[in-house]
């Protein structure tokens, strides 16, 4: 992966481990990706595959102990964030890299008015006085589609509905014109009609402001409609990465294939039987150095039980981690 002009973030071989009583949990074990200006990158995977930990690592919010970043680099404009001081990171986090979390109720402080929380962020990161910051906050709420923002800004989080709270989070996240917005399951707690509203809003706003987005989700449907690039994660590693269209068109890794086939779809005939992936995701404590998917894989070979497959770069921008596509066994 070459560093090009518009690469904002480069994650190289990131490893995040947690020490527990039962052993070392390798939540993220060698993840690499690039994020370019204005790009929307999707990370999909099932619960416990390490999606959220990847992104908490990027913004240096891994609770430590028990967690620690055991290796790798996170290059923000070529500078390694893992080597930065706390002060430097604070300049970036919330300012240049903003976050939205799944549950908007737990990520807003219930005791403080929306205005207090939004103004705090803006004053901290931008050279504005309180009055100007308040105006900026109102403007952002308006952009996020909140009716009567001048009044609602002085309300408390409980006075907003779930969808409205997520709008507040988006307004807050984008208030410092970040370069990167990390959205961790932003619509999973919402109903479909509200989900459609929020995805629509996020897409419109980030396109307008030129923000790059890392979207974490378990829903293949959400990814299909929003992301340019897609990473599929399984047991702490990416198994496949590439342009969204190509992956949906011809998934290469057996896990991606199984995942796409096991989602019930509206545009499919009912009598077609869903194919499912047998078994269940592995426990990531003390995983042996083999392909973690082989017990569930229909195309498993002998080598899969012995060694972890190497990353194979293909010329059309795709990468896959599977022995099926690797020549040097």
């Amino acid at each position: 992966m070459a560093m090009t002009e518009d690469t904002i973030l480069q994650v190289k071989d990131l490893r995040t481990y947690f020490n527990t009583d039962e052993g070392i949990v390798k939540a993220v074990d060698g993840v690499s990706f690039d994020l370019h200006k204005g790009e929307t990158l999707g990370i999909v995977g099932e619960s416990g595959s390490g999606k959220s930990v990847t992104n908490l690592s990027v913004i240096n919010m891994i609770p430590s102990p028990p967690g620690r970043i055991a290796g790798g680099e996170i290059l923000y404009h070529g500078k390694d964030m893992l080597k930065m001081s706390k002060h430097e990171i604070r300049q970036i986090r919330g300012n240049k890299i903003a976050m939205i979390f799944q549950d908007p109720m737990t990520s807003l402080n219930p005791f403080l008015r929306i205005s207090t929380q939004m103004i705090e962020t803006i004053v901290l990161h931008q050279k504005l006085d309180k009055k100007a910051a308040r105006e900026k906050a109102i403007e952002m709420l308006k952009l996020a589609g909140i009716p009567a923002p001048e009044k609602r800004i002085d309300q408390y989080p409980h006075q907003f509905s779930g969808g409205m709270r997520q709008r507040v989070m988006i307004a807050m996240g984008l208030s410092c014109n970040p370069e990167i917005l990390i959205a961790d399951e932003p619509t999973s707690a919402l109903d479909v009609t509200i989900q459609a509203q929020i995805l629509d809003l996020m897409k419109g706003l980030t396109e307008r402001l030129g923000t790059a987005v890392i979207l974490i989700t378990h829903s293949l449907g959400v990814v299909a409609g929003t992301c340019d690039t897609l990473c599929v994660m399984y047991a702490g590693r990416f198994v496949e990465r590439g342009p969204t269209d190509l992956i949906f068109d011809s998934p290469m890794h057996p896990y991606t294939q199984g995942l796409i086939r096991s989602v019930p779809r509206l545009d499919r005939e009912d009598d077609e039987r869903l194919s499912s992936i047998r078994g269940q995701p592995p426990n990531v404590i003390d995983l042996p150095d083999c392909c973690p998917f082989y017990p569930r894989c229909d195309q498993a070979m002998d080598i899969c039980k012995k060694k972890y497959p190497k990353w194979k770069n293909l010329d059309n921008g795709r990468t896959v981690g599977c022995w099926l596509y690797s020549e040097d066994k």
Partner: protein, 329 residues
């Protein structure tokens, strides 16, 4: 019994919960959770019940099972009105009707083994002298059930925490089948599961239905899941059914503006299809069900509303045979 015999009939079911009126709160009122719904369920079919959070799906299932005694209306199982039965007769009638719940973590007693959990319904009915199974018969039935739902019989003495989410849901299903019921009420049984596991469980439901001739009332908020599992579908909004039809008809030709918006909001996991779709974005949130509404419950959010929708309740119209819509259009 013929295949087309009506197993369950719900007539104008209402479930209102009182709130307030306590020492501190001045206001007193009702939550109109389910406000007059009627449908029939034929032997061997699956009726899917969809709608957003708070529309009364779960309350409907609970009111049918008499876990909440309905405010008014009839619930006829084989022509016998459950709502009027005394507790003792109700227990006998309920043998024919079991539930599978959403959260496989909360619905299993953590201090009982898997075998005990599955045997418990049989033990209870033994205690009421409705069944008279010997200990050995129960043991055998538990083992049969476990194998049938895809759990090894050797797991009989394990506790719920030793199982994964998907496996726990299998225990819940085995428990529901222990009394060999005709009707199974499934309250969001797959929404807490990951996609690859969800597909396994959905297929299990289908297989069991074929094998035991079960009838399902299947609740989910995921329209694609409902499409896959159901023969007929009812769409709920704010405690009422807005549209009910055969599954194929509903998805091919949705009539109610709410159904149309709901279907358009579901993301489809295929980027090419997804890009070409037009969304009907509904404004606003689902209103609170604490008021008596004169007009159409969907009026506030409807994108095709007319003036008289506000003033009187829309009639039930037949769009095609077996396809009923509650709308002026």
């Amino acid at each position: 019994m013929t295949a087309s015999e009506t197993l369950l009939e719900v007539k104008d079911l209402k479930m209102h919960f009182p709130y307030g009126g306590g020492f501190l709160s001045g206001k007193k009122g009702f939550i109109y959770a389910v406000d007059g719904i009627s449908f029939q369920l034929k032997q061997g079919e699956t009726l899917g019940l969809v709608g957003e959070s708070g529309c009364g799906k779960s309350t409907t299932a609970r009111a049918i099972a008499q876990l909440h005694r309905p405010t008014s209306g009839e619930v006829l199982l084989h022509g016998k009105d459950l709502a009027k039965l005394k507790d003792k007769d109700l227990i006998a009638a309920r043998k024919n009707m079991q539930m599978v719940f959403q959260d496989p973590y909360a619905s299993l007693n953590p201090r009982m083994t898997a075998g005990d959990i599955i045997a418990e319904p049989m033990r209870i009915y033994n205690g009421h002298n409705i069944l008279s199974l010997s200990r050995q018969e129960m043991e055998e039935r538990v083992e049969q059930l476990m194998e049938r739902v895809g759990l090894s019989r050797f797991f009989k003495n394990r506790f719920p925490h030793e199982f994964s989410g998907g496996q726990r849901q299998r225990i819940g299903i085995a428990r529901a089948l222990a009394l060999r019921p005709e009707l199974v009420l499934c309250d969001e049984p797959v929404s807490a599961l990951d996609v690859s596991i969800q597909a396994q469980i959905l297929n299990l439901f289908k297989d069991l239905q074929e094998e035991f001739g079960l009838t399902y009332l299947f609740i989910a908020h995921d329209l694609a899941v409902i499409k896959y599992i159901s023969t007929r579908v009812a769409v709920m909004y704010l405690g009422t059914i807005v549209e009910i039809a055969r599954s194929a008809d509903l998805y091919r030709n949705p009539q109610h503006p709410y159904t149309q918006a709901l279907l358009s909001a579901v993301p489809i996991p295929d980027p090419k299809v997804e890009r070409g779709r037009k969304r009907i974005i509904l404004t606003g949130d689902v209103p609170s069900p604490d008021k008596i509404r004169v007009g159409c419950p969907f009026y506030d959010r409807c994108w095709k509303r007319m003036d008289h929708c506000k003033l009187s309740k829309p009639p039930i119209k037949e769009a095609e045979p077996g396809h009923q819509v509650t709308c002026f259009l």
